[in-house]
Symmetry: C2
Subunit: 278 residues, 2 copies
């Protein structure tokens, strides 16, 4: 497998970074992650726009513009020859002699095999626990997952699959997914603030509006527990139902018709936008 | 300069880590940092104890016990032959194929030249701004400095030197220092919770008790602004006065006699404990 480190394509074992990099020293960096399907990166412009925004907020200078990044991605995809994959672009704070101050960022692009079953499996869903927390600088896709990784043991001990962040009674997101609820009135509601604006979330909002009432507004934990359906969204999950939160089964533990329907719509949306920006 | 990466001593340019390490992927790791004076690591047991504690909280298995670490440190100090230095031990989440789950940690030990002037310079002091924030898992010396590094631009724009974290009206710490205030009644007060328990802080508390009233209790921002003296403590600063917070000059902007006196006491304490644990 080939990777890119700054200006150079290297074989995976040589994808090395000097330990003075601010990611190792201070956990300082941003990234973005997207899938390829049949060699085509999905929603590439949205992902690269978000990467540019994350970098700008953290004061990191991207060494390549979008067109240059696409050129590099074409070469990487060609070299690795994996049709269905995940590609991660990481931009770090750079080598810091003082171990603290941002310098010239390092860019790292890695690819891994990743194929996703398009079939919606109604038997699959998440059991969540909640935790009092909101991500730092949540609008930025930073590499800070201290709490997400730390909480994995607690999730495991609870026999759950993942953790739902709640602050002062209001939910925000999972460490790597957004959350939607479907109310008894068939409204689709998702939090607007204190979250990372996921690309999958954004696209769901686009097409869901055509078929139902959609609201971006604060969502309380109580709203979640009394919802008719809950699902999470992410690049590696598309839409995935939530079966329970803190041991409380949502509705009847059934992913429900709305989630299933939106999932099918997402597949169509994905196909319709396959070549967008590529 | 030599460094240690896991079992191997390497020259600095070869101090490399594969990018699949959880520090690069998710900012997940812990570290500790201490000085050497005339080849002797200062307060080494306290630093290694804290490292062990940080690692345990984050579920990271230290590959070496304290005696083994000391043996490695002796070898590193001998190879580099720098009498006055800073040594950093970093323990990361390890190489994660799934980019998210802790595996076998990587340990990195680096040394850099660092000499500290023992003379207390009354003209030197910090100008701080405050920011609404409290560190995540503050008792752990994690590598998460997302906010600290991010806020550097804001600090610079304000013409300040560093940032004081405040949450709901109560201060905790600076990104890399603890905070003490001296009241009009000559009481020395420092926050006990929501902070990293600094080794310098801990040692100041030990000897300060012999000469004045010392309290570990919540400190409000108002307590700070109306204090007779304020100083910060850290391994690289010992004690350093604070001259202003948010543009408000503390007392008369003079570091004051208590800080100066405690600084002198710290020098003595440092000398008296030079060989402790070594």
């Amino acid at each position: 497998m080939w990777a890119l480190i700054n200006q150079q394509f290297v074989e995976d074992p040589q994808a090395l970074l000097h330990v003075s990099d601010l990611s190792v020293q201070r956990g300082y960096g941003v990234f973005d992650f997207f899938r390829t399907a049949a060699y085509i990166p999905l929603f590439i412009d949205q992902h690269l726009d978000r990467l540019e925004n994350s970098a700008a907020v953290l004061g990191l200078q991207l060494p390549y513009n979008k067109e240059e990044l696409k050129k590099i991605l074409r070469e990487l995809i060609s070299k690795n020859n994996i049709p269905d994959s995940g590609i991660r672009i990481t931009l770090t704070g750079g080598f810091a002699a003082d171990t603290y101050t941002v310098t010239t960022p390092n860019i790292i692009i890695t690819q891994m095999a990743l194929s996703m079953d398009p079939v919606f499996d109604a038997s699959k869903g998440l059991h969540l626990i909640s935790e009092e927390y909101v991500r730092e600088l949540p609008m930025v896709k930073s590499i800070n997952y201290l709490m997400g990784v730390y909480l994995q043991q607690k999730v495991k001990d609870a026999g759950a699959d993942d953790v739902l962040y709640v602050k002062n009674g209001y939910i925000s997101e999972l460490p790597r997914s957004n959350v939607f609820i479907v109310t008894a009135d068939n409204e689709l509601i998702t939090a607007k603030e204190h979250i990372l604006h996921g690309i999958t979330r954004k696209n769901i909002l686009i097409f869901a509006k055509e078929q139902m009432e959609v609201k971006e507004q604060p969502v309380s934990l109580n709203d979640v527990l009394t919802a008719k359906e809950i699902f999470v969204s992410s690049t590696t999950k598309r839409l995935l139902p939530v079966f329970s939160v803190n041991g409380i089964v949502i509705a009847d533990g059934n992913p429900g018709t709305v989630t299933s329907n939106l999932y099918q719509r997402f597949l169509v949306f994905e196909q319709n936008n396959l070549n967008a920006g590529w």
